[in-house]
């Protein structure tokens, strides 16, 4: 009984945590290279829009012989590429034009939902784009049958869950175990010093922004697939929440994972408390449950933000001439 509740919570938690994890890791690459990417929300929307649009078109064409998982993988690639394309203008404004990085990010956040709604309405007259969920995995072959671990991690899932962990591991290796990662981090901490040893700061920052775009686009689709059956030009503020997870996670992959799981757990409780009998019996109004993720994040931040470990040069345009 209680074990079933626990399994249910873990399964649900993944749907909320994984997109946050992926997008926050994307934000990490950008901020670690020295560019604040407040546009994560907008990039998520565009990525999800492009991916869902592709799924919608493929599913409605006659010769859709592609299996669900292949379709999803192609859609994920499309989402990531779209994310890169959308992130580039932000990179141009904040790297080459040395503009206020919040402004171009806000512009993208504003553009994305409007663009998605506009295109959807011009094509279908309504703004929702429906898709059939062919991607659900009831039980992973073999692994799903493992006692205890199987039900937790390999049943009622999507391939995107594992993608999230792959992204996490690759991110950690890239950031800490490769020369590229060291260079990227140095550009976010002290670009002048990086430049003095021959690192191309502009190039590094562009790469950081592009990785963040790819991951944010990916994360957008990863969020929409398990939690909805239509795309409504919104990702429910998850881009901003990913930003919170990033700060909460102190710009470090391991801590970001913990932060994403924490927030995902809170979100699961707030959404699924009616299915969890002992929570449902408590005399607490539903509004309180809905507030829990945000309230908890705020409280945790209150006690952990005093010693912030933000990249020092994050948000500051690099000017070769300055000292």
């Amino acid at each position: 009984m209680t074990l079933n509740v626990l399994i249910f919570i873990v399964q649900q938690m993944m749907f909320f945590s994984i997109p946050l994890l992926i997008v926050a890791l994307g934000g990490m690459f950008s901020e670690r290279s020295g560019v604040v990417n407040i546009a994560l929300e907008g990039i998520m929307i565009m990525g999800a829009f492009a991916g869902v649009m592709y799924i919608f078109i493929t599913q409605n064409s006659d010769s859709s012989s592609i299996s669900g998982q292949v379709l999803l993988i192609i859609a994920l690639v499309i989402a990531a590429v779209t994310g890169i394309i959308i992130a580039l203008p932000h990179g141009y404004a904040s790297i080459h034009m040395k503009s206020n990085q919040v402004i171009s990010g806000t512009a993208i956040n504003m553009l994305a939902p409007a663009f998605a709604v506009y295109v959807a309405r011009m094509i279908r007259t309504v703004q929702q784009i429906p898709f059939t969920n062919q991607f659900y995995i009831e039980s992973v072959p073999l692994l799903g049958n493992i006692p205890f671990i199987g039900p937790f991690f390999f049943q009622k899932t999507y391939i995107t869950t594992y993608l999230g962990f792959v992204v996490l591991i690759i991110s950690w290796i890239v950031l800490y175990k490769t020369p590229f990662g060291l260079r990227l981090r140095s550009c976010g901490e002290h670009p002048q010093a990086a430049d003095s040893v021959g690192i191309n700061v502009y190039k590094m920052r562009y790469i950081g922004v592009m990785i963040s775009g790819a991951l944010a686009g990916l994360g957008g689709l990863v969020f929409v697939i398990p939690t909805a059956t239509t795309f409504d030009a919104t990702v429910a503020g998850y881009g901003f929440l990913a930003l919170a997870v990033l700060i909460f996670g102190q710009w470090r992959p391991g801590r970001i994972l913990i932060a994403a799981f924490f927030f995902g757990l809170m979100k699961t409780i707030s959404v699924a408390y009616t299915s969890i009998s002992f929570l449902n019996r408590l005399p607490i109004p539903s509004a309180v449950y809905k507030m829990i993720p945000y309230l908890a994040t705020l409280i945790v931040l209150t006690f952990t933000s005093k010693n912030s470990m933000a990249p020092k040069a994050s948000g500051e345009p690099y000017d070769k001439g300055s000292r």
């Binding site: 503009s99 919040v102 939902p113 663009f115 930003l243 909460f248 945000y294 994040t297 933000s305 005093k306």
Partner: protein, 428 residues
Amino acid sequence: MKIKRILSSSGGMNALSSLFAIILGLLAGFIILLVSNPSQAVAGFVTILTGGFSDMFNIGQVLYYSMPIIMTGLSVGFAGKTGLFNIGASGQFTFGMYAAVLAAVKCSFLPNPLRCAAAIIAGMLAGAIWGLIPGMLKALRNVHEVIACIMMNYIGMYLVNHLIRVTGIFDQLRNTTVRVPSGANMPSLGLNNFFSTKTAQGSIRPSSLGSGILIAIAACILLYIVLEKTKLGYELKSCGFNREAARYAGINENRGIMLSMAIAGGLSGLGGALVVLAGAGRGISVVDVLAGEGFQGIPVALLGLYNPIGILFSGILIAHLTQGGFLLQRLAFAPEIIDIIVAVIIYFSALALLFKNILSYIFRDKNESPQIEDDDEELEDDEASEADETNSLGSVEKEGELVLVESSLSENKTKDNNNETGGEPGDS
């Protein structure tokens, strides 16, 4: 020569680059219209440009829509002057709306004008509290204000939805708050009938405009004075320019952060109060969606260059485009095109450096460089005030030109006022 000097001042430069951004944004909108439906594109574009002032009714609606976004724009802009990004205007706005409705409904013991005033003050206070919390967390616990504000947005939305039910001002049928008793509404001062059209049947169709817009304009002027002419404004701005330098000069930066966020919240809250007390029948919809006005304040503030007077005009400009987009639906275009246009405008206004480089190449002056002037402003007192005058004059004139076309009585009045207060020293 004088024109050249104004243009090459940083204010004039900023205003010019804003103008460029607006033109580019409109151009992008036109291209999108062209791509989506070539036959209707020109008609659609004309609707966007002129729909907002096609008749008195539409002008009234533009001013009505501009009221809340001017207030949230001021909120974002005021915090921006202190170096804080107030993305929490949405929650502050919602809380202000709630407190205003609650006070208007519950304070039935007060005579009507006082009741309205109590509702307005309640809205402001509620917004101020909602802004003060992130401010305190930032100042005392170093919590990033962007994250705190985002969390406060969601908490505010869910809390208000809950409180509406608990405090008995929920209208189950319409799924909104109950109507504010008409006596507690702000007087319309005949503005709604002045800005109206005659329908085909000969009856008058009044716009939703009321005295709220006057309060919004007054708030712009007041904030301009606070920021440019008072010690408080100087302290807050210096916190924004250089926090360390401000601390070194003996300014309590923590107090500055908290005060700035509280005032910013109060402005958003006031905006919320003005909306629900406008007598246009708008309540708070009990849905789990963040109030859009709060987020619209961000482009308004950015386009207005964080300057209160600039925000007044950029708010009207964006409301004008929004009304144009509303009318655009008659031509079977989606109104979201307006958000796309505004987003492009914002993006290109971020590329100010590009324009500035082009402009300063054209209006070259051997002993003036706009970037350096910005920094000097806060350091040298005498020069600063003089530079400020020229700046504001430049921006007022340019911004004024932009919206002069859609001039209405009240707008012209404010413009004149500002030229009087802000312009004279610069002219000499």
